[in-house]
Subunit: 451 residues, 2 copies
Amino acid sequence: MRKVDVLVIGGGASGLQAAITTKSTYPEKEVVLIRKEKQVLIPCGIPYIFGTLGASDKNILPDKNLTGVGVEIVIDEVTAINVEERSCSTAGVGPIKYEKLILALGSIPTLPPWLKGRELENVFTIPKNKIYLDEMLAKLEPLKKIVVVGAGFIGVEVSDELKKKGYEVILVELEETILNRAFDEEFGKIAEEHLLERGVKVVTGKGISEIKGKEGKVDKVILTNGESIAADAVILSMGYSPNTAIAKEAGIELNEHNFIKTCEYMRVLPCSTDIVAVGDCAEKRDFITRKLDQTMLASTACAEARTAGMNLFNLSPCKPFTGTIAIYATAIGEHAFGTAGITEFKAQQENFAVISGIFAGVDTHPGNLPHTHQQMVKLIVAADCGMILGGEVYGGYSTGELTNAIGFLIQNRVTVKALLTMQIGTHPLLTGSPAAYPLVKAAEVIAKKMR
Amino acid sequence: MRKVDVLVIGGGASGLQAAITTKSTYPEKEVVLIRKEKQVLIPCGIPYIFGTLGASDKNILPDKNLTGVGVEIVIDEVTAINVEERSCSTAGVGPIKYEKLILALGSIPTLPPWLKGRELENVFTIPKNKIYLDEMLAKLEPLKKIVVVGAGFIGVEVSDELKKKGYEVILVELEETILNRAFDEEFGKIAEEHLLERGVKVVTGKGISEIKGKEGKVDKVILTNGESIAADAVILSMGYSPNTAIAKEAGIELNEHNFIKTCEYMRVLPCSTDIVAVGDCAEKRDFITRKLDQTMLASTACAEARTAGMNLFNLSPCKPFTGTIAIYATAIGEHAFGTAGITEFKAQQENFAVISGIFAGVDTHPGNLPHTHQQMVKLIVAADCGMILGGEVYGGYSTGELTNAIGFLIQNRVTVKALLTMQIGTHPLLTGSPAAYPLVKAAEVIAKKMR
C-alpha cells in the first residue's frame, strides 16, 4: 500500500493552498493532492465565464502551481477515509496511507428539497465543476430569459455577466435588499441601482415557491406572493453546503451546520493531531460574534489553508486562525463593493452597541480627473471601546484593496481613535485626497458621535 | 485689536486640515485661517496641471471645505508673530490676538545657491503658488525642450505630464536610480523603463553643475561630468525647504534642518501649550529609524494636522503623532508605485538587520481579464522580531490602497508571522488571487528565509 507523508483531499483553492504551504514549510515531506477533477476552475472567476471570459477554459487553476513546488497530483476519487488506519480508499489507484491528512472537501450548491420543479431541464446551480458548467453554458446558448434566484454575490455577479452576454435576466431575492448578508441597506440599494442601469431586473422581498415546466423544461417561476415570471432557465444561487458526507462516514465530528469541527489550528476531532480540515468544509467561527458562521470564501479558505499547512507538523502558537472576518469584494461592471467584519444591521441583531459613520467622496483628487469614481465608506465600531468591527466600501478599482486595509484594521483590533491619527498615502490618480480620505473621514463622523 | 480663539497661519493641506479638525473637535471655538493666496492649489494635483488637467483652475482646494464648517478665511500676510503677547502682525487687517496658534507655514522649493545660471529666464521651480504656476505654464507654451532636474516623485510626475503635453523632456537625476529616496532599485528601474517607453529621456548618475544662457534665457544645462544638454527651459525639482523664517524671527526653535521643533502632540518649543506646528514646516521623525526626517507629504501633513487639531485644547494620550512612515504613491501613466516605511537600502544603511521578500504577479485573477496590470510587492521586515518595517508596490489602480494596507500593518507593528495567517478579501476584477495575494506571498518568501 502506498504511504505518503501528507495527503490532501480536494483540489480547490483551499486544497491547493494547503498543499503549497505544507510543501513550502516542510520541503522534506512528500505531499500528494488527490482530486476528482482533471481541471480545476478558479472559484471566484466562475461568474465571469458567463460573460467577460466567455468560456471556462480561460478560468483554470494551473497545475504548475502545485507541481512546480513539488506537490504530486493524483486524479482519482477518495471513496472512504479510515481514521484509525490512517488511510484512504480510492476508486482507482488503490488505498493510500498518510501521516497527515488535509481535508479540503469543498462545498456543493444547495438545492432546496422543498422546491417543486427543481428536477426540470434548464434548472441549474453553480457548482465548482468545469464539466457541469461547460454543459450549462451550451444549454443556455439558445435560451433567452433567465431567472436567477438568490442575490448573494454569486447571484449578483452571474446576473450581471449573463446580461452582458445579451440574456434577459431577472434576479429574485427573498430579502428586501440584495447582498444583504454582507452589506447594509445603503450599499445594497446602490448595487441594485447599478444592476437596474445595466438592464438586470431585480425583484426583492419575494422568494420562489415553485418552478413550473412544459414538456419537462422550465416554463415559469412562481413567487412566494403568487406572481409568476416566464423563464427559459432558472439558476439557483441559494447558498452552498459543506461537502462533508465522506468525513461524517469516517466518524469525524460535524457541527450543527454539517461543517467539520475544527480548532484554531484547523485540526479536527477526534484524532486531531493527524487530520486538519480547511476551506468550505471546515467549521467557521465569526471573528466578531464568536458564533458559528457559514460564510464560504476562497480568501478565507486560503487563510485557513495557510494556517493548517504551517502548523501541520509543528504547532506555532503565534499562527492560529482566529475566526472569519468574512472579507470580500464584488463588482457590477466598473462599480465595486467591498465588505469586512460585521454589518451594522447584524451587529444590532447580535446585541453589540455600535456607532457607525459614513463618508461619501471620490476615489481620486481633484475629482475631475479621468477614471474618477464615486466612493462611499462606512465604518462600524464598538460604542464602548471604539474597536473597529466592520467596514463597507463602494467605489471603483481600488475598492478591493481599500477593503483589505479595513480588514487589517479589524484583525489588529485597531480603535477608531488610533485610526484618526494614522498616516495614509494619497495620490491624485489613485486615492481620495489627504483631507478627504474616506476611512479617516468616516472615523471622524464616529468620533463626533462618541463625544 | 481682534482676538480669536484659534488662528491658523497657512492655507495649504495642513492648515486646511488643522482648521477643520479644530472646528470639528471644538465647535464652540472661533477658528480663523489666514493665508496670502486668494486661491489655494491641491498640492498633489500640481504636476497634473502640466498635462492631464491642462490648467491650474481645475486643481483648486474649494474654500467651502473651510467656510462650510464655520472656519473664517482671512486673505492677508502675517508679517510677525509675537509669542509673548500671543498675537500676529499682518500686512493689511491689523494685529490679531490668539488663544492658540497653528503654524502651517508650508515649504518653498530649494534653489541651490551654488547653481550658476539659476537666475536665467525660463529656469523654474514648482512652488505651491497659483500665480507663479500660471505664469510658468504661459512661458512654457512656445518652448520645446525642457530639462527637469531631480527625479523625486514631483520631478517624475511633472516630466511625464510635460511629455504628455508634447514637450521634449529630459529628466536628470544625480543618483543611479530615480525615486531612490522612497523606492529600492528594483522599483526605480521599472519606473525608469515606463518613463522611457513614454518618451521621457532619463539621465541618471549625473547632476547638474551649471545652467548656461543666451541673451538672458536658458540655452543649455551642463552636467557634472561635463556633458551639456540643449534646453529651452529648466525645471528644478531638487526638494523643498521649510518656510520657517517668520517662526525663527519669533524665537520659536528650529531643528538643524530648519523645521520647527515639535513634540508628539505637534506642540512647539517654547510656549508649547499655545502654539502647534503642522505640515511641511513641522519637525518630522521617522517612525522606524526615530531619526529626524525631511519627507514632506500632504498626507503626512494631514495626519499631523488632525493630531494637532484634536489635541489643541485637551491633550489625549491615545492620539499622539508617532513619526512619519513616509507613505505615498505616484504614477506614470497607468503604472503606479507606492511606498511606506523604510526601503531595504535605507534599512541597511541605518544598521537594521532586515529580510526582504518580493512577489510578482498580477492585480486581477485570472490574469486574462481586462484591465489586468502586472503587480510587484516587496516587504522589508526586521530579521529578529519579524516586524514589518517597509513595503513597496508596483501595479495598477489599486496600488494606492494596497500601499495604505501596508501602512496600517507598519503603524500597528504587525509581524510577518501574523500577516501569514491574516485574511484578505479578493475579487477577480479587483485583486490578485486568494492563493497568490501579493502581501501574503511576499511574507511567505520572508518566512522561508527566516527558517
